[in-house]
Amino acid sequence: MELLKHAAYEKRAPDPAALLAAIPFCRHMGISATVVQGALTLVMPYQPLLIGNPVLPALHGGAIGAFLETAAIAQVAWELGGTELPKTIDISIDYLRTGRAVESSASARIAKRGRRVVNVHAELWQEDVAKPVASLRGHFLLAS
């Protein structure tokens, strides 16, 4: 991606907010990014299109999964740089609590960095960071 190439050329971390704003699907889901005390957190405000169960109501499992995957990819791109986005090899999502119709946050950490593959853990929470709504483990391929 142009934005990643510029950051890599200038030997700095890419701006995560600009990165998400450049990805159409992240704009569709309303995902934004903030860096607080050196840690990247993604925020997804509630909007009706994220609903999967209108009776509770609850967020769609796919919206939760897509947000977690975005958090993992953004963490790798921000922390490791590179000129292309990392590619998802596999992900495993555990749904721990109902995703309610409120704002969601997510953060990720690189559990293991290999030469070509990184193992990433991500968590999604709503009002209470100590009560995760869902978690993700995944492997991502770094651009060669």
Binding site: I23, C26, N53, P54, G61, G65
Partner: protein, 148 residues
């Protein structure tokens, strides 16, 4: 009973969830614990603006939805359910400007849990872009909600 919450949940799961409608996903076939859906390519689905390849989360959402529809079609009575876990292997990137098809099968329904398998592909079913395995929690007591 049009206002029965379980029936409302089922109606939504059978293709009408707001999130899947926002992506443009549509159900092609349902029945006997199986389902097939189609997702036409659309600009808002793109995850890499350089290549036009759709975001992995789009595939995740379609696999989750299609597996859920398969569960709904396998149940003998109408009840809500929620995704317990979902594992997805991405075999290759989706081709830009090409429809995505997703098929799912509910392999087993126990008293509490339904087990599913899903496949996403584009032009040929034997060249999948992603495979999934997922479990869904059945919520039999209408007054009980998943633990908060």
């Amino acid at each position: 009973m049009a206002n029965d919450p379980n029936e409302l949940f089922f109606a939504a799961r059978m293709g009408g969830t707001a999130f899947i409608l926002s992506l443009g996903g549509e159900i092609l076939e349902i029945g006997g614990g199986k389902s097939r859906m189609r997702l036409p390519y659309a600009p808002q689905l793109v995850g890499d603006p350089d290549t036009g390849v759709v975001h992995g989360g789009v595939i995740t959402a379609m696999l989750d939805q299609t597996c859920g529809v398969a569960v709904a079609s396998a149940l003998k009575e109408i009840m809500p359910f929620a995704t317990l876990d979902l594992r997805i292997d991405y075999m290759k990137p989706a081709k830009p400007r090409t429809d995505i098809f997703v098929e799912a099968e509910c392999l087993k329904v126990t008293h509490e849990v339904a087990f599913t398998r899903g496949i996403a592909y584009q032009t040929a079913r034997d060249e999948p872009i992603a495979l999934s395995t997922g479990a869904f929690m059945l919520i039999r007591d209408r007054d009980s909600k998943p633990a908060a």
